[in-house]
């Protein structure tokens, strides 16, 4: 049903065309005084309320980074929780300026929904988790033929699952649920042999299992899920602001600029560091974007570099403890690579 709806909505959005997209987003944001940022309604590590009721998480911090770049204030964000179907219309209709909601970058979304992805801030992929005490002999997803698999309905996960089993000539028995909690409960109760969702979701699932040590994640990753922030099509200036905010965070990690050492880095002799922090005498790094020259300084001061944000929300410094993996810097064998800021 969700696919059909997305189709209808896509058609409706196309019919309305790009006319809805204002080419003045940056000015609109500046005059409104805050970035309206669409986030998940609640996804562990990416966007969820903390004890004080503030939005916390990897995606929420990206919203703050963009706000810091524009205003110098990471709290100048209006968070708008959106669900899977309304996220695209919210962006299209101008209800939000920026969609930072673990959204997979796909061809159809990029072309028919009137939005543009500004980069990839998290490389995810779909994996399987099994109970190793119940199925001690299984150590590969290719051995799952005939298994009952718990999966959430209406997601690309469900389609990837069908593709994978068909491609490998295996039978399976889908056990489909609507929500994360129901799916978790069914898996915990042993109603299915395996659980499949994005790898980041499997880490969140482990936190709620009674005996997490009994469960293992199989090594196969069966799909590519590049998640990234998206903006409306047709406003290149705002697109650039969002895109380069992400690059600046990655570049800062590469150069070793962190929240803690920012003050000393401002006096660094390294020309590259001086350049991205806007410390050169005739600095113009903000000009082309329509921002102040210290926009990178503001991002680092307010949220930190990419690695710090990752670590704090989903990495080793959080209960999820997700390994960097594909999201390590390219210099460490990962895929995170920022275009040069000069």
């Amino acid at each position: 049903m969700n696919k059909l709806l997305v189709g209808i909505l896509g058609g409706a959005v196309m019919a309305l065309g790009v006319s809805a997209a204002s080419a003045q987003t940056l000015n609109d944001v500046k005059s409104a005084g805050s970035v309206k940022c669409g986030v998940h309604t609640g996804l562990a590590g990416f966007a969820a309320p903390n004890d004080a009721g503030e939005w916390a998480g990897f995606d929420a911090d990206f919203c703050r980074a963009v706000a810091a770049a524009v205003f110098g204030d990471g709290e100048a964000v209006t968070f708008v929780p959106t669900n899977a179907t309304e996220r695209f219309t919210a962006l299209q209709s101008g209800e939000i300026d920026l969609l930072s909601r673990n959204t997979t970058w796909t061809l159809s979304r990029d072309t028919t929904l009137g939005l543009t992805f500004a980069g990839v801030n998290y490389y995810d992929g779909q994996g399987f988790m099994i109970n190793s005490t119940a199925l001690p002999d299984i150590n590969s997803a290719l051995q799952l033929s005939g298994a009952a698999v718990c999966v959430q309905s209406g997601t690309t996960t469900e389609l990837n699952l069908a593709d994978y089993f068909a491609a490998n000539n295996m039978e399976y028995n889908p056990v489909v649920f609507q929500g994360f909690e129901e799916t978790n409960a069914a898996y915990e109760a042993g109603r299915c042999d395996a659980y499949t969702t994005d790898a980041s979701g499997l880490y969140a699932l482990r936190l709620t299992l009674a005996n997490p040590d009994e469960h293992v994640v199989l090594p196969e990753i069966i799909s590519k899920e590049p998640l990234g922030p998206a903006v409306r099509q047709g406003d290149d200036q705002w697109f650039n602001v969002v895109k380069w905010s992400l690059y600046a965070m990655i570049q800062a990690e590469e150069l070793g600029v962190t929240q803690d050492n920012l003050e000393e880095m401002l006096n660094s002799e390294n020309p590259e560091i001086r350049r991205i922090l806007g410390q050169e005498d005739d600095s113009t790094i903000g000009e082309g974007l329509g921002l102040e020259n210290d926009w990178v300084v503001n991002i680092i001061r307010e949220v930190g570099n990419y690695g710090e944000v990752f670590d704090r929300n989903i990495g080793a410094g959080s209960p999820l403890a997700i390994a960097r993996g594909l999201n390590a810097l390219w210099t460490d064998g990962g895929l995170q690579y920022a275009m040069p800021i000069r």
């Binding site: 959005v13 998940h40 562990a44 969820a48 309320p49 004890d51 929780p81 969140a204 936190l207 009674a210």
Partner: protein, 385 residues
């Protein structure tokens, strides 16, 4: 009288004797309520067995082994789950509810502005309680304050933006605040609207009748979920760019219209139960339509359908949870949303949060239901068989 010696007639009554042991006190209550027939006895024993089987475990989980305070998930997780409790431990994680309590009540309402919500709540209780107790006088002033002045004052206090109060957009509201505001407004609007629609449907004027029937049947024929969904996903596409309706307002309008349609049918049931003679009697007294409705028909009809009205109110109170569809978080929504907070995720968190939310909902619904029973008894003036 003295000259007749009626010595065989007792001159005073024998003192009343206490009933036999088996017909009084606890024994009698047990005999009539629990062990009246063999089937009752079997059912009672089965129920006791069931309670004995489940209750101790539940009480142990909820009160003995539970955790009341803590900073994060570690207090609610066993060692193998990455926490501090011994392996095999299972207990309620009230620490989660404790840490999130303010959020469950106010949502993301700014901390320094929460006194405004508190004052609104105090005014609500102070005005509502005397209204509910029949003995307290000045009902007319009280009702005017509660139904006219209070909503306007509450609007300015909660939303702000005037009189030096900071503007608090409804997107920051949440928790019990949203549940209460939505259900209060929907209840206050739906009763008069429902009465008008019910009268309209029974009207002899064809146009009014048709309009009422169309409204009622259309609204009842569409699920609330789909209306909220349409309002949040489709509506923005048909409006000019940048123009958005407040989500909270969408929910408020949707819920009120829905409740009105259901209320109309409940009230119509009451109107149909009033014998024709009542209408004719009113006419023969020379009363006009509105007078006869107000003085004769409606007081009897509404009294008959109190259970139905309260049933609709209770349903409405619980339906407010559906606003999660348009990205608003009522009490249940915000509890579930907080399950996604990784620093509190543990096997015990969801159950503890849901039991808390269920308990709060139960308190309100049970309160409404008890008050309706009290009102029914009080107004029961002659129809009892």
């Amino acid at each position: 009288m003295q000259e007749h010696d009626l010595s065989y007639v007792r001159m005073e009554m024998i003192n009343a004797q206490t009933a036999p042991e088996r017909d009084r006190g606890v024994v009698r209550w047990l005999r009539t309520n629990l062990f009246a027939t063999p089937i009752d006895t079997v059912l009672t024993l089965l129920a006791i067995l069931l309670l004995a089987y489940t209750l101790p475990n539940f009480l142990r989980w909820a009160f003995v082994d539970s955790v009341w305070t803590g900073a994060n998930r570690e207090v609610c997780a066993t060692v193998s789950q990455g926490g501090i409790q011994p392996d095999g431990w299972s207990g309620a994680c009230w620490a989660f509810v404790n840490a999130k309590f303010a959020q469950f009540m106010y949502g993301r309402y700014p901390v320094f502005e929460r006194w405004r919500v508190d004052y609104t709540a105090i005014a609500f209780v102070v005005l509502l309680v005397p209204l509910l107790i029949p003995r307290i006088p000045f009902k007319a002033i009280n009702a005017a304050l509660f139904f006219l002045v209070f909503p306007i004052a509450a609007y300015f206090l909660l939303v702000g933006g005037h009189f030096g109060l900071r503007y608090v957009p409804t997107s920051l509201w949440g928790g019990l605040l949203v549940t209460m505001v939505l259900s209060f407004v929907a209840i206050v609007i739906s009763l008069p609207m429902g009465i008008l629609l019910a009268l309209g449907r029974r009207s002899k004027l064809p146009v009014i009748k048709m309009i009422s029937v169309i409204i009622i049947e259309t609204v009842r024929g569409v699920p609330l979920v789909s209306v909220l969904f349409m309002a949040s996903v489709m509506l923005p596409l048909f409006l000019p760019a940048g123009m958005t309706f407040d989500r909270f307002l969408r929910a408020l309008v949707g819920l009120s219209i829905f409740a009105s349609a259901y209320m109309a049918e409940v009230v119509r049931g009451g109107l149909q139960a009033i014998p024709k003679g009542q209408y004719e009697g009113a006419s023969s007294l020379g009363l006009g339509y509105w007078q006869s409705m107000r003085l004769i028909v409606l007081p009897q009809a509404l009294k008959l359908v109190i259970p139905g009205i309260v049933n609709t109110f209770i349903g409405l109170f619980k339906d407010t949870s559906l606003v999660y569809i348009i990205g608003m978080f009522d009490l249940l929504g915000i509890v579930r949303q907080n399950f996604a907070d990784a620093s509190w995720a543990s096997p015990q968190t969801p159950m503890s949060g849901l039991i808390f939310a269920g308990f709060v909902f139960w308190m309100f619904c049970f309160g409404m239901s008890r008050y309706s029973i009290f009102m029914e008894r009080r107004l029961d003036t002659g129809h009892k068989k």
